[in-house]
């Protein structure tokens, strides 16, 4: 997986598989501090300390434990090679928080990629979950919370063409409005 947004999708899918009813996603690009931070927090079934070690071990995870594939160990290695880290905090029965950080300007840092598609995919395909998404670039913030929208819709599916169009534009424009341009290009 060559973009951070795909890893983010993978981690959030783990939260969905863990039976979470609430998932919070934070993507924070601090150009000023030269850091790129991503977190996924959920209220799913959680893991004990032994399981956390196992999901970070590339040689443990196999067909018998399908919940987490090779995604996390590879992402941890990628973060550490970019002056960053990946940590997992989890309590059984309470939930899990995965945090990843990179040096923003590091030459080997994966691009963030298509964040809008990742968020839209999650919100559409797991509508039973309360999604709180925050995308931050220095002092600018885009917040997306699906709960007011779900309440307004009262059971109309999100894949109704007009609703889908509304959601896609809401998320795409919210992200584009604050997304930094590639270095060397000014706004």
């Amino acid at each position: 997986m060559r973009e951070l947004s795909l890893h983010l999708l993978d981690i959030a899918e783990n939260s969905v598989a863990a039976g979470a009813s609430w998932i919070q996603i934070v993507v924070d690009e601090s150009i000023v501090q030269d850091r790129l931070y991503i977190s996924v927090r959920d209220n799913g079934k959680g893991m004990d300390a032994e399981t956390i070690q196992k999901v970070l071990d590339p040689f443990y995870t196999s067909r018998t434990t399908r919940k987490v594939g090779l995604g996390l160990p590879l992402l941890k290695a990628a973060a550490e090679s970019c002056n960053g880290y990946l940590t997992i905090q989890s309590t059984p029965g309470i939930g899990t928080c995965v945090e990843i950080e990179f040096q923003h300007s590091h030459i080997d840092r994966m691009p963030l990629g298509d964040l809008a598609s990742t968020l839209l995919t999650l919100v559409i395909s797991a509508p039973q979950i309360h999604w709180e998404c925050q995308y931050q670039v220095d002092s600018q913030t885009f917040l997306f919370d699906n709960q007011p929208i779900m309440q307004e819709l009262e059971g109309i599916p999100l894949t109704d063409p007009a609703i889908l169009s509304f959601l896609r534009q809401l998320i795409e424009e919210g992200i584009q409005n604050i997304q930094p341009l590639p270095s060397g290009i000014s706004k």
């Binding site: 997986m1 795909l6 999708l9 993978d10 899918e13 969905v16 598989a17 399908r66 987490v68 594939g69 090779l70 995604g71 298509d114 598609s117 990742t118 839209l120 995919t121 559409i124 395909s125 797991a126 007011p148 929208i149 307004e152 819709l153 009262e154 109309i156 599916p157 894949t159 109704d160 063409p161 007009a162 609703i163 889908l164 169009s165 509304f166 896609r168 534009q169 809401l170 424009e173 584009q176 409005n177």
Partner: protein
Amino acid sequence: MPTVKSLEDLKRIREEALQKRQVKAASGEANIVVAMGTCGIAAGAREAMKAILNLIETENIPGIIVTQTGCIGLCEREPIVQVQVGEQPKVTYGKVTPEIARRIVKEHVVEGKIIEDHVIPM
């Protein structure tokens, strides 16, 4: 200046959607399930999902529910998309590129023709 999307916009869209749904309700709904395990995501499940959503929006196709599932144990044939139209049996497609995903919506869901070349026998 980009348009500001508000809940007021959503209220109006919702009313329009409700009216259209009453017309559509008789013909039965289609379910599309995209497998979103690590294997699926690495193989391009998000792009398949995006192609499906994009076609629903641009061609204005109502009555399709799109959801996700985890790894179904056929990692080497990901991205996998399952389709069920009304009461008909579920059909599983493998190696679903964005192009195949669009064909699944157009040919299978809308026109009722299964794309045999890409079906995984279950």
